[in-house]
């Protein structure tokens, strides 16, 4: 959009949509049934996602909102939305959306050096790199700026030591955006630096963690004297909080469903209500007015979610709302995914909790999804953090008391 092309040279959304529709039909297989979100990623699934991304790239439909000079198309969020809608019925590299495209690549675009942008954004768009986030630590994720992983300067390089946890997809990743403490003598926000860390490099140990639904998406990482070059810094040395803030902003948009960089439509917040109709039919309740109300409610909430995303994104874009209003969609998306999970369990009834293996698949899925119900109100910053942001930065209510404000980090109480 900033490459000097006159506005009337930009392809109209309708024409783009038509072209995308034809291309998708010719080039992508139909979506596999019951496409699940984050919980079903195997190594093979990652390989497949990269392949699909390459197909998009070769077809000229990758990175619709990323600038042309970094391998994208330089088009508008409306073009992206049109493409995402058209792609609903096709197999898409959805696994690359969060966090690779919508969070990490977007952060590099905002905060990275020219070199980082050229190298990593285009590699991501070609399906050659997976990027993940190393933010949370075992001693606390909400208080992100209170982290204790350290990077010490040694000549021209940095040496990283510490541990991270809950990193989605790290076992398959190529690089991670990793926030570390580089100055302990200043208040917590002032002593952080963001690094782009190669995940498969000496000194990094990645361990998978099994989640309650049996998937092994989460990882923890240990850093033992990992040597990073000076150009691994994203943004400024000790300016890591600013980079992290951009990253968290993109994360909230992505988790809320409002990221312009998201390609294809994610199904993780139960957005496909036809599954509920199916569940009701198979349990013989489709004629029950109460069940029909539940299904209608789930359908309505999905649509309200989309309408809210449009309103808030537009409001932030036009300045009517502060950027922090992104937390509104983040909070709503969690509430929506709770409702979707709860409805499925309610309709599945006893079948959500027990059954023989001969039973149709899908009943048990409702139960499994229910066990993971809270994931979407924790991932991407908890809903409590979203509520703090909305009350303090959107509604202007007084800030929470923080015992560590303006105190050099090495004098802050950390508990056990």
């Amino acid at each position: 959009m900033t490459d000097g092309t006159a506005a009337n040279d930009v392809e109209s959304v309708d024409s783009f949509r038509d072209r995308a529709r034809r291309w998708l039909e010719d080039n992508l297989p139909p979506a596999p049934p019951n496409q699940l979100g984050e919980t079903s990623k195997s190594a093979a699934a990652w390989t497949r996602a990269k392949e699909l991304q390459r197909i998009l790239y070769d077809g000229g439909f990758a990175g619709i909102c990323f600038p042309k000079e970094y391998g994208g198309l330089g088009l508008t969020p409306t073009h992206q939305r049109a493409f995402s809608e058209e792609s609903r019925d096709y197999e898409m590299p959805l696994a690359l959306n969060i966090p690779t495209l919508t969070i990490c690549a977007a952060t590099i675009l905002d905060m990275g050096s020219e070199e980082q942008k050229r190298t990593h954004i285009s590699a991501v768009l070609r399906g050659e790199e997976l990027l993940v986030q190393f933010l949370s630590e075992p001693r606390g994720g909400s208080d992100l700026a209170g982290l204790t992983t350290r990077a010490d300067r040694k000549g021209d390089s940095w040496v990283l030591n510490g541990a991270k946890i809950w990193s989605s997809g790290a076992y398959a990743a190529d690089y991670a955006l990793c926030l570390a403490r580089t100055d302990w003598d200043v208040p917590k926000h002032a002593g952080l630096t963001m690094f782009l860390v190669p995940v498969r490099t000496p000194g990094v140990t990645v361990q998978q963690i099994t989640q309650v639904d049996g998937s092994r998406e989460f990882c923890q990482e240990f850093f033992d004297d990992v040597v990073l070059p000076a150009d691994a810094v994203v943004g400024q040395v000790n300016g890591g909080w600013e980079t992290a803030n951009r990253q968290l902003f993109h994360e909230r948009s992505a988790v809320g469903g409002a990221s312009p960089y998201s390609s294809g439509i994610q199904s993780h917040s139960g957005r496909d209500v036809s599954g509920l109709v199916d569940l009701a039919r198979r349990t013989g309740q489709l004629a029950d007015p109460r069940v029909r109300e539940d299904i209608g409610e789930a359908r309505a909430l999905n649509m309200v979610h989309d309408q809210l995303i449009a309103r808030i994104t537009h409001g932030i874009g036009s300045g009517a709302l502060p950027p922090a209003a992104g937390s509104i969609v983040r909070l709503f998306s969690a509430q929506n995914s709770w409702l979707q999970a709860d409805m499925a369990v309610r309709i599945a009834g006893a079948s959500a909790a027990t059954g023989t293996t001969a039973d149709d698949a899908g009943f048990g899925q409702a139960g499994q999804d229910y066990l993971m119900r809270q994931a979407w109100s924790l991932a991407g910053g908890s809903t409590e953090m979203a509520r703090n942001i909305i009350s303090e930065r959107v509604l202007g209510m007084p800030r929470e008391f923080a015992a560590d404000r303006d105190i050099p980090f090495n004098q802050v109480e950390h508990g056990h």
């Binding site: 209500v273 036809s274 109709v277 007015p289 029909r292 109300e293 539940d294 299904i295 209608g296 409610e297 359908r299 309505a300 909430l301 649509m303 309200v304 979610h305 309408q307 809210l308 449009a310 309103r311 808030i312 537009h314 036009s318 209003a325 509104i328 909070l331 709503f332 509430q335 409590e384 979203a386 509520r387 703090n388 942001i389 909305i390 009350s391 303090e392 959107v394 509604l395 209510m397 007084p398 929470e400």
Partner: protein, 377 residues
């Protein structure tokens, strides 16, 4: 869809807001309530001059929209009505207009009178004990020459006690029909019913063998009558949803103000995280109400299925959400919140009535599931 009102729409909205603030401040609303009058007829004519009755009517009949999206114009007015807890038959008149414009040339004179605010025409749709579905009116329309003779009881007729004319849904020999009946016609009797809202009032209208001439039959064909009722219901539901959003918006605004002004344990209410977190939820839901009410109003430009879906989404979501937010606003006010003297109950009344009229959340959710099945088939 435009996510922002146009400049003209904004002007229309702010003119309405200023007029309501001046002409029906909350004291005036309370006075109208105490006098047992829903609204003042001369005041309604002034509102009509401002354009409240015009958007859905073509210009040659004295109407006109300030934008390409007449229902969006009206929704902005409805939001202001909600914020002011304003009186007046905005919703029901709009529903009637949306029915009459389908037969505009035959009802040109009446349309012009309604647009001018001289005639108040309201919709008699519901029947005692009955819900949303338009097909099953018990009110009968027995053919009589080229017209009908109408008998039956209509319920929840908005502003029924102030109306000049009713657009009545009845059941003819082949199915639904719609006819116009004057309030002073022989055989018509109107009895105000109690209503939670103080000024958005309702009545029961009984018809005993009321003669209706051919010129007062609006829809004779059952399919067309059914389609017309659906449109009217959609208009009424969309505007009620917008109005509830306005009422909730105002209640929330007053509550925020209160939370900054009120101190307890040496600090502002607004400083307690337990309350901040709840308010963050209400803000989120309120933004969602605005988003979905606006989407519904703008969906009238799309095909009827899309409009039906958007309206049911909005009416079910707002109907289920808005009263909850306002109740929480009462809670955050403490004891003062449940007094007659405090204005909060005016808003609670408005949203509680709004939830009930033109489809409860449950009714609209079932409609949504019907639509999903129809679309899948």
């Amino acid at each position: 869809m435009n996510l922002d009102p146009t400049a003209d729409q904004r002007l229309f909205q702010s003119t309405t807001r200023e007029f309501l603030a001046k002409s029906v401040p909350v004291e005036a609303v309370r006075a109208l309530a105490e006098a047992g009058r829903g609204f003042d007829r001369a005041w309604w004519r002034k509102g009509a001059e401002l354009g409240w009755t015009a958007p859905l009517v073509p210009e040659r009949f004295g109407g006109g929209s300030v934008s390409e999206a007449p229902m969006a114009d009206l929704a902005l007015v409805a939001v202001e009505f909600g914020r002011a807890c304003a009186p007046g038959p905005l919703t029901t008149t709009s529903a009637v207009i949306s029915g009459l414009v389908l037969e505009q040339d035959r009802f040109a004179d009446l349309l012009a009178e309604i647009v001018g605010g001289e005639t108040v025409a309201v919709w008699a749709h519901y029947e005692p004990g009955r819900g949303l579905e338009p097909r099953d009116a018990d009110t009968t329309a027995v053919p009589d020459g080229d017209g009908f003779r109408i008998s039956g009881i209509k319920d929840r007729v908005e502003s029924g006690d102030q109306a000049d004319i009713f657009l009545v849904d009845a059941h003819g020999p082949d199915g639904p029909v719609q006819v116009l009946i004057r309030a002073d016609a022989p055989g018509v009797s109107v009895a105000p019913t109690w209503t939670l809202d103080v000024v958005r009032r309702t009545a029961q209208v009984s018809c005993t063998d009321v003669a209706v001439g051919a010129d007062a039959v609006v829809q004779r064909d059952p399919a067309e009558a059914t389609a017309a009722m659906r449109t009217q219901l959609r208009v009424a539901a969309a505007l009620t949803a917008a109005e509830m959003t306005g009422a909730t918006d105002r209640a929330f605004e007053m509550t925020m103000r209160w939370m900054f002004d009120r101190y307890t344990f040496g600090r502002q209410l607004a400083s307690f995280q337990a309350l901040k977190h709840r308010v963050a939820d209400y803000k989120t839901w309120l933004e969602a109400c605005h988003a979905t009410a606006w989407a519904a109003a703008n969906a009238f430009a799309d095909d009827p299925t899309a409009a039906a879906e958007a309206v049911s989404v909005a009416k079910s979501y707002i109907g289920a959400t808005a009263p909850g937010i306002v109740q929480e606003c009462v809670q955050l006010h403490g004891g003062i919140g449940v007094t007659w003297e405090h204005d909060m109950h005016l808003y609670l009344r408005r949203v509680t009535l709004g939830r009930a009229l033109y489809g409860t959340p449950g009714e609209h959710r079932r409609l949504l599931t019907d639509l999903m099945e129809r679309n899948a088939a």
